[in-house]
Each structure stands twice: as structure tokens, then as C-alpha cells.
């Protein structure tokens, strides 16, 4: 019964969070956004005291149910482990706790956070790791499925589905997500909750609390016949059946053992504030820094002639559009709501929830080493529309704080910079005022060139004090592959 309740609750959370990450229409955050906000590390980073207190109390009452129900990475491992169990049952065995490794990982994690290297911590933060896996591996499949439906909908003249662009947002982040997914899947298939009880910092912290939880599964030695079935089915490898002891720091309160025991010897009972039999032995551990591979995104651009003038064939044909290249920005542009670049980089654990919610394809994970996987903005596919606050609505970490659209339309996050040599008014002598026309804040005016005659094509003048840094000018700029006008980020956002 208890196990079934656990599975039911876990299913709700798992499906909910996965759907939250997959949804690209922006309809779900209103209903499911809280599921991201109750995650442990995000709550700490967002200084969400009430959530932290609730999670701590929950653990002190029931043990690590957080790991079994709320944490999507934990539930994902249970699913993998469950599938693996169909091939081989009772494949686990008791092992001693690797406390040195656990504490080392926790210390590294905390140091990384305190030292403003949130992106290093992000590598092992469970919720974010799962978010990245969904965003990078599952979402494309989901979107392709959607596009197939959209294809049929179009045939049927229906507007129920519309197709969306599926594109490689960051190859480094994709690779890290794939490696994380493969590693965790293998670990879970072989040894159940190894990750949670060795690497995961949340598991270690909650494990320290769950030793003292009021309710625990305990073994009634009078009923136990020593068959060890419980131990061999414990995915956390924490039941020492020989000594009738359970390591509550590793027990994730999954209740599997209660159902497994044929003698009814295991029950979930009030146990008082007793300590456990945590192994005292120290184990040799190697702080094995996982090697990371960084592939720089050397975008291969297909070139096309822009001004292909066919003399004879005037009828029809579309000019090829050369892909835009991402300009090198001295300071990255991050969403309004971040407040400052520093606040953003120290709070973001790169879960990619905002990336998956950005309706204008502006956000994508960074490939730069110091902000690896943390989102940044660029404007090849759209611009940051002043009326949109999608990222600020979902960020659970406080890296992007909630803002209203009215507020946002006055927050400066960057400054447009003009590159004379790229501008088609100079390069091709053609009239264009696309940047001026699309600036939502009227920060661009077309002016006469200094030495040009009055009929020569005009060039843009940027009022840096009015410019919000939304990227509309960069997006619509016809110069390719590099826009003639692009946004430079600013360290500290401000209201203008």
C-alpha cells in the first residue's frame, strides 16, 4: 500500500515536471511551475525559506521521500532500475556507505556554489541534470512528433498543431546531457540508487537528516527468517539483513522492502530519534573529476549569394538566405529579471527550463567555459519581445526573478552597437531602416552620413540611454552572416 502511494505520487511529479520541460506552448507553467520551485537546490538558491523548511520537516518525518517522489532524476533512476529488474530480479546486495566520497562531493558542491561557480555545481545538481536531459534529449523527439502532427493538421486544414523549429541550441550542453543520461542509466540499471548515495549532494544532505526521521522502515527480528530477500531487492543497497540493520542515510523510503518481505517482518513505523548503524570504515575514494569534453560550436554556414541577379529568369525563385553567425559579445546578454550578470551566474544551475520556454528562440545554453550550460541570449532566430516574461515566470532558482511585462519594457539589459562596415547602407549603398522601424523603444534614428550627400542612404544612430538591448534590430538586420547592429550585454541591468 505505502509503496503504491509512493509510486502514484512519484508518477504525478515525474510526469508533471517532464511535461513542464517539454511544453513549448507556454501553457503549462501556470499549473505546473511550482513543481520546479519545490526542488531542493533551486529553493536554496532562491532563498525560498518556506520550501526549505517544509522539505527538511518532510525528511525528518518520513525520511528521504523527496528522493523517491519529488526528485525527477531519482524517479528516472527508479524507472530504469524497474525495467532492468524485469531481466534480473533480486540483483542488489548490501554495501557499505561510501561516506568519504559523499562528503567530498557535498563539500565540492558547496564550495562551487560559494565560489560563484554555480555552473560547476550544476553538473551534479539532480533537478538541473534532469532538466538538461529532457531539454536536450527528449524535447527534440517530442517536438518532431508534434511537427508530424502539425504536418497532418495542415493537410486537414486544422490549426490544432503548429510546427516548431528543432535546433541544436548548444553542442557542449547536449554532450554533457547525453553523457549524464548514459552514465546515470547504466548506474541505475546495474546498482539502483548508486548515484543518489554517492555523488548527489542533495542525497547526502537529506541523508544526514533522514537518519533522525520519525518514521522509518524497521526489521522485526522476531519475524525475520534471514532470507535476505529485502536486501537483495533494495535499490539503495542499504539493508544489512545479516545484522537486521538499515542505513537510513541511504534509504530513500521507497517501501519496496515492506512489500518484498514474505514474513511481514518489515514495517514503516515510528522509530523515535534513533541513530543508525552507519559504517565507520573509511573507503578509499578517488575524487574522480569527470572529464568533460568541450566541443566548440564551429557552426558551419552554408553560404548563398544574396544578390543573385538572374538576367533572364525573373519569374519566381527565392534568394538563398545565409545563416547568421553569433557575434562575439564582450559581455553576455541575460534576461531582464536577472538583475545583473553576477546574480544570474551565481544562481543558475542550468536546468534549461527557461530555454525550453522561450517562445522567440532567444535563449540557449552558453558554450563559454566560465558559464558553461547557463543560458544566454542571442538573436538569430528572434528577439526578446518586450511583452514576453516567459523565462522569469518559470525560473525556480531566482536567477531570473519574476517581473511584469510593464516593468520589463523599461529594463535595460544591453546596448545595441553599430558596425559601419557591415551595414548595407555602406556596403551596398542601399536604403534600409529596418533597425529603426523595429526598435520597440524608439532608440534608433536614421541619420545622414557625415560626408555623404543628402540623398545617400542613411545610417542608424543609437540612443544608448533608450536602448533596452532586446535585439529586435539585430534580428531584423539584413546584413549577413554578421548583423550590422548587435547587442552588447551590460554587467548590471537598470531601469530607464
Amino acid at each position: 500500500m505505502l509503496r503504491k502511494i509512493r509510486i502514484a505520487l512519484a508518477t504525478i511529479f515525474f510526469v508533471g515536471i517532464t511535461a513542464l520541460f517539454l511544453d513549448f506552448t507556454g501553457a503549462l507553467p501556470a499549473y505546473l511551475g511550482w513543481m520546479a520551485k519545490v526542488q531542493f537546490v533551486p529553493a536554496i538558491l532562491a532563498l525560498n525559506v518556506s520550501i526549505i523548511v517544509i522539505l527538511a520537516l518532510l525528511t525528518l518525518l518520513f525520511g528521504r521521500v523527496y528522493c523517491s517522489v519529488i526528485c525527477p532524476l531519482g524517479v528516472m533512476q527508479d524507472i530504469v532500475s524497474n525495467l532492468a529488474a524485469r531481466r534480473k530480479k533480486a540483483r542488489f546486495s548490501y554495501s557499505k556507505a561510501k561516506n568519504v566520497l559523499r562528503v567530498t562531493m557535498l563539500v565540492l558542491f558547496v564550495v562551487a556554489l560559494v565560489a560563484n561557480a554555480a555552473m560547476l555545481a550544476a553538473l551534479i545538481e539532480p533537478y538541473s541534470a534532469y532538466g538538461r536531459i529532457v531539454n536536450n534529449l527528449f524535447a527534440p523527439i517530442y517536438m518532431w512528433g508534434n511537427n508530424l502532427l502539425a504536418y497532418f493538421a495542415e493537410k486537414a486544414d486544422s490549426y490544432a498543431f503548429y510546427s516548431v523549429d528543432v535546433w541544436m541550441k548548444g553542442i557542449a550542453t547536449f554532450a554533457i546531457s547525453a553523457v549524464t543520461f548514459i552514465a546515470i542509466t547504466i548506474l541505475a540499471a546495474k546498482n539502483g540508487r548508486t548515484w543518489c548515495n554517492t555523488i548527489c549532494p542533495v542525497g547526502t544532505v537529506l541523508g544526514a537528516l533522514s537518519r533522525y526521521s520519525l518514521l522509518k522502515p524497521t526489521i522485526d527480528t522476531s519475524k525475520c527468517n534471514g532470507c535476505k530477500l529485502c536486501s537483495r531487492n533494495c535499490k539503495a543497497s542499504c539493508i544489512d539483513a545479516e545484522n537486521h540493520k538499515i542505513d537510513y542515510s541511504r534509504c530513500v523510503a521507497c517501501m519496496d522492502c515492506i512489500d518484498t518481505c514474505r514474513k511481514g517482518a518489515i514495517g514503516y513505523r515510528y522509530a523515535g530519534f534513533g541513530t543508525t548503524n552507519a559504517a565507520k570504515e573509511t573507503t578509499e575514494t578517488k575524487a574522480n573529476n569527470s572529464r568533460r569534453q568541450f566541443l566548440s560550436a564551429g557552426a558551419i554556414i552554408t553560404t548563398g549569394t544574396l544578390f543573385a541577379q538572374a538576367n533572364k529568369k525573373v519569374d519566381g525563385g527565392l534568394a538563398a538566405i545565409e545563416d547568421k553567425k553569433i557575434p562575439e559579445r564582450a559581455t553576455p546578454v541575460v534576461p531582464a529579471g536577472a538583475g545583473s550578470l553576477k546574480n544570474f551566474t551565481t544562481h543558475c544551475t542550468a536546468c534549461q527550463l527557461c530555454v525550453s520556454k522561450c517562445p522567440n528562440d532567444v535563449l540557449r545554453p552558453s558554450s563559454s567555459l566560465d558559464r558553461l550550460m547557463q543560458p544566454e541570449m542571442s538573436f538569430e532566430r528572434g528577439f526578446c519581445r518586450p511583452a514576453c516574461t516567459a523565462c522569469s515566470e518559470v525560473c525556480p532558482n531566482g536567477a531570473i526573478k519574476p517581473i511584469a511585462a510593464e516593468e520589463k519594457s523599461a529594463i535595460k539589459i544591453g546596448t545595441a552597437v553599430w558596425i559601419a562596415d557591415n551595414c548595407i547602407a555602406n556596403k551596398d549603398g542601399v536604403t534600409c531602416n529596418n533597425c529603426e522601424r523595429h526598435c520597440p523603444n524608439g532608440a534608433i534614428k536614421m541619420i545622414r552620413k557625415k560626408d555623404g550627400d543628402k540623398d545617400a542612404p542613411r545610417i542608424p544612430m543609437i540612443d544608448a540611454e533608450r536602448c533596452l538591448g532586446c535585439g529586435a534590430c539585430e534580428y531584423v538586420c539584413p546584413a549577413r552572416p554578421f548583423s550590422a547592429i548587435f547587442v552588447e550585454g551590460i554587467e548590471s541591468h537598470r531601469t530607464i
Binding site: 506552448t25 507556454g26 495542415e154 490549426y159 503548429y162 510546427s163 523549429d165 544574396l306 544578390f307 543573385a308 541577379q309 538572374a310 538576367n311 533572364k312 529568369k313 525573373v314 519569374d315 519566381g316 525563385g317 527565392l318 534568394a319 538563398a320 538566405i321 517562445p359 522567440n360 532566430r381 528572434g382 519581445r385 511583452a387 514576453c388 516574461t389 516567459a390 511585462a405 548595407i424 542601399v430 536604403t431 534600409c432 531602416n433 529596418n434 522601424r437 523595429h438 531584423v476 539584413p478
Partner: protein, 459 residues
């Protein structure tokens, strides 16, 4: 009941055989003929029903004595398909079928141009027509030196190439393509001596009728008629019931001047690029009330054909059902009564009230140097207007759904980077537009509308 059933069967069988596609035109014609036992059964929008083979209305060109079918085949909108490399090419098999069918049903005027279908139309036309006796049809093509090169060599080569592509040693009708203003006319045909060269070709019998197609202003039209100093065998103008009293010059003005000079008139855009076939429901209702089983398009064809001075009415028929519908309309032509004519003028007024953009999808504006898909953007805008599905008022209870349909439809019709927001306003396209649409201004209008509609970008 019994009769009805029989007819239904015949129709189905007929369509089935047509669908087979491989059947030669003559046998199709035979079915069409023998299947008709005096009973006519027309179904809405001209789909289904019998297609007569021997009732086409003809007009005589008094300059050359040509007996020309009132329905002319425009080879500008030929059926396309994708080849192995996913490149769009002409579907020659279907072109052959259409041409065979047209000939078998009395159509004998085929109008192409070197620039149609990205330059592939003449060749496809040549392939299809060369399978029939040369004296069973008339070929019309054009001198399309509108862009770039104004040299006589280029013009001569274009003419020679037309003969090669069309697999013939003479052209029945040659047009100076798309005359827009005096300046361009002088550069293209006078200063370089190209017109003299063409007149020479006419004397040698390589051109049987010489004329021009017109997309310019009134003064230039008058100049061409009165002061050009050349005998024109025919003139091609845009004429339909919307343009009859619209523009400078109006179609009415042009037609009347040509009639007074006794010059045979070839009609283009009788359907305004298909827009008189799909119109807003209000206007459609007016037509359907009178003739529920006749297609909306048939009214436009009857309008154009009703004028006696018209030699032929061109229609770019991509699909078999359009060809069949038009053949029916003209086999034989029933001229409009005065009362019907008045009603069409009323429809025209209503149609114009909706502020459509006058794009006929001729694609002369393309390629846009910045990659925009100009005709598709206009087509989407016009369609939403025509269907009364424009998300104009946020208070409408339908607004949300209309907005969604507009945005999704736009994404489906035009890739993001080819939409109106990427128009730089360079106006390169505008002097190519035969309809003289102020394209960049329209783009700006559409862009502003779409940006407002997009809001935060969520659909």
C-alpha cells in the same frame, strides 16, 4: 431518380478514367462526347460533369485570319513537382496531359514567355506542343528583356532561343513583354534597334503577329497606340470585372480604345491571379444565388469573353479541373446580359471594399534580394481577408482563434526569415510589379499588423 443514378455513374466512371491519367486525350474526349446524351449535369465549382469537345467559341483575328479559341492557355502556372534532389521542376507528364486535353477540346492558343516558371516554361510548352501538328495551334511568346541587359545581342539571342525551346521556326504571336513606361520601352526596343530587328523577322515570316503586353500608365498607353508608328497586330491587356473601372488607365478605357482602332485584344489576368475565383463569402453568395452550379470563376471568364473585340482570354490552368471548368464556360460562351454585367460591377465594388492587395502571384518581383517570399505573404493576407478571418478586433469573441489561425497559417505559408519583418524597404521589387503595388509600404503595414498580433511571441 433512375436517370439521376445513371448520370452519377457516368460521372464517376468518367472521373475515374480521368484519374488514370495515362489515357490519351483522344479517348478521354470520346468518353466526354459519347457520355453526353443531351443531358447536362453541372456540379458546383465546375468539378465533375461533362466537357464538350466540339462547342468552343472561336474569334477571328482579321490581321492574319487566325481562328483562335476564346480560351487561351497561359503557360505561366504549370504544374510542378520535386525531382530527386528535391528541386522544383515542371511536371512534364502532367503538362502533356493538360495540353493534349486542351487541344482535344478546341483550345488552340498557347501563351508562354522566356521568363515563366523560372525560365522553364517555353521548353515544356515546346515539348508538349511538338507532339501535335504545327498548324493545329498558335504559339505566343514574348521578348522578356525587362531586367538588366538591353543590348540587341541579348534580345536577338532571347528570340532565337524561344524558337529553339519551342521547337519551331516561326512564332504566331510575339509580344514585347510587360511594357511599363516610355523610358524602358525606348531602352529595350528602340535605341538598340531591337524593334526593327523584330519587324524584319516579321517580314521574313518568322513572326506572324507582333504586339505587346501592357502594365503601364494611360499616357504611355496612348503613346503606344497613336505615336509609336508601328502597326500592331494585337495587344494584350489586363481586364476583369474588378479592373474594368479601376486604375489608370481603366480596363474599360484600354478596351474601348483598342476596339475603336480595331486591334484584336488578348486578355490576361481575367481572374486577377485567381482572386476572382476565391472571394469573400459575401460576394460569392451574390454569384451563387444566381447560378448555384456554376463556378465563381466562370463569371469572370464570361465577363472577359463577352466583349466582341476580344481575341482570346488567357488562363493559367494548373489543374485539370480548372481546364475543364473553363472549357465548359466557353463551349459555347454565353455572353453576359446587361443585368448580369451590372451585378458583377456591384460584386467588384464589394470586393474592393476589403482592401485586398492586388497581387496576382506572377512572381515578377522575385527573387527579393533579402529573401522575402513576397507573393506568399500577400496571398496569406488576402486569403484571411477574403475568408473574413482577419483578427482585427480584440473584442471579437472569435479573436483568439482567428489570431492563432492567422499566425499558424503565416508560419505554414512563409518561413520565418522570409516574412514581412525582413523587408528592408529597398524597393528593388517595386519597378518589376506589373500591378504597381507599393510592395514595401504594404510589407510595412503587414509587418506592423503581425508584430502587434504576436505580442510576446507565444501562439
Amino acid at each position: 431518380m433512375n436517370n439521376e443514378e445513371k448520370n452519377n455513374m457516368k460521372r464517376r466512371e468518367f472521373l475515374k478514367r480521368l484519374g488514370g491519367g495515362a489515357i490519351a486525350a483522344s479517348s478521354v474526349a470520346a468518353i466526354g462526347c459519347s457520355g453526353d446524351k443531351g443531358k447536362k449535369r453541372y456540379v458546383a465549382e465546375g468539378i465533375g460533369g461533362d466537357v464538350p469537345t466540339d462547342a468552343m467559341t472561336y474569334r477571328v483575328n482579321h490581321n492574319s485570319g487566325d481562328k483562335v479559341s476564346i480560351l487561351g492557355y497561359g503557360m505561366m502556372r504549370l504544374p510542378m513537382k520535386r525531382d530527386e534532389q528535391d528541386k522544383e521542376i515542371i511536371d512534364q507528364e502532367r503538362v502533356n496531359e493538360l495540353v493534349d486535353y486542351a487541344l482535344a477540346h478546341g483550345v488552340n492558343y498557347f501563351d508562354t514567355a522566356p521568363v515563366y516558371c523560372k525560365g522553364a516554361s517555353e521548353k515544356a510548352t515546346g515539348i508538349a506542343l511538338s507532339r501535335h501538328p504545327r498548324n493545329s495551334y498558335f504559339i505566343a511568346t514574348k521578348l522578356s528583356n525587362m531586367r538588366g541587359d538591353n543590348s540587341i545581342e541579348f534580345g536577338k539571342e532571347m528570340f532565337a532561343n524561344s524558337l529553339r525551346e519551342l521547337q519551331t521556326d516561326y512564332l504566331d504571336y510575339l509580344l514585347l513583354h510587360n511594357l511599363g513606361n516610355k523610358d524602358a520601352y525606348n531602352k529595350r526596343f528602340i535605341e538598340n534597334g531591337l524593334l526593327d530587328y523584330l519587324l524584319q523577322q516579321k517580314r521574313e515570316g518568322k513572326i506572324r503577329n507582333l504586339g505587346w503586353s501592357f502594365h503601364g500608365e494611360k499616357a504611355f498607353f496612348d503613346f503606344m497606340l497613336d505615336e509609336a508608328g508601328v502597326h500592331w497586330d494585337f495587344i494584350q491587356i489586363q481586364m476583369n470585372y474588378v479592373d474594368w473601372q479601376r486604375g489608370n488607365p481603366t480596363a474599360e478605357y484600354m478596351y474601348k480604345r483598342l476596339a475603336e482602332k480595331n486591334i484584336p485584344v488578348v486578355i490576361m489576368e481575367p481572374l486577377l491571379g485567381g482572386r476572382l475565383a476565391k472571394m469573400n463569402y459575401q460576394a460569392m453568395e451574390m454569384l451563387k444565388e444566381r447560378e448555384p452550379e456554376k463556378s465563381v470563376a466562370s463569371w469572370a471568364f464570361r465577363f472577359a469573353g463577352s466583349y466582341e473585340g476580344v481575341l482570346t482570354v488567357l488562363s493559367g490552368m494548373t489543374y485539370m479541373e480548372h481546364l475543364q471548368d473553363n472549357i465548359r464556360t466557353y463551349s459555347p460562351l454565353t455572353p453576359l446580359t446587361e443585368e448580369e454585367n451590372n451585378m458583377l460591377m456591384d460584386v467588384a465594388k464589394r470586393k474592393m471594399g476589403f482592401e485586398n492587395i492586388d497581387c496576382t502571384d506572377c512572381k515578377y518581383c522575385m527573387p527579393c534580394p533579402y529573401g522575402l517570399d513576397i507573393p506568399s505573404i500577400f496571398a496569406h493576407y488576402n486569403r484571411c481577408l477574403d475568408e473574413g478571418r482577419m483578427p482585427q478586433n480584440e473584442m471579437d469573441e472569435d479573436y483568439k482563434q482567428q489570431r492563432r489561425e492567422f499566425l499558424i497559417g503565416l508560419e505554414r505559408g512563409v518561413p520565418k526569415l522570409r516574412q514581412a519583418d525582413h523587408c528592408t524597404g529597398c524597393r528593388e521589387c517595386e519597378h518589376h510589379c506589373p500591378q504597381r503595388i507599393r510592395i514595401s509600404r504594404e510589407m510595412r503595414k503587414i509587418d506592423e499588423f503581425v508584430q502587434k498580433l504576436l505580442g510576446d511571441g507565444r501562439i
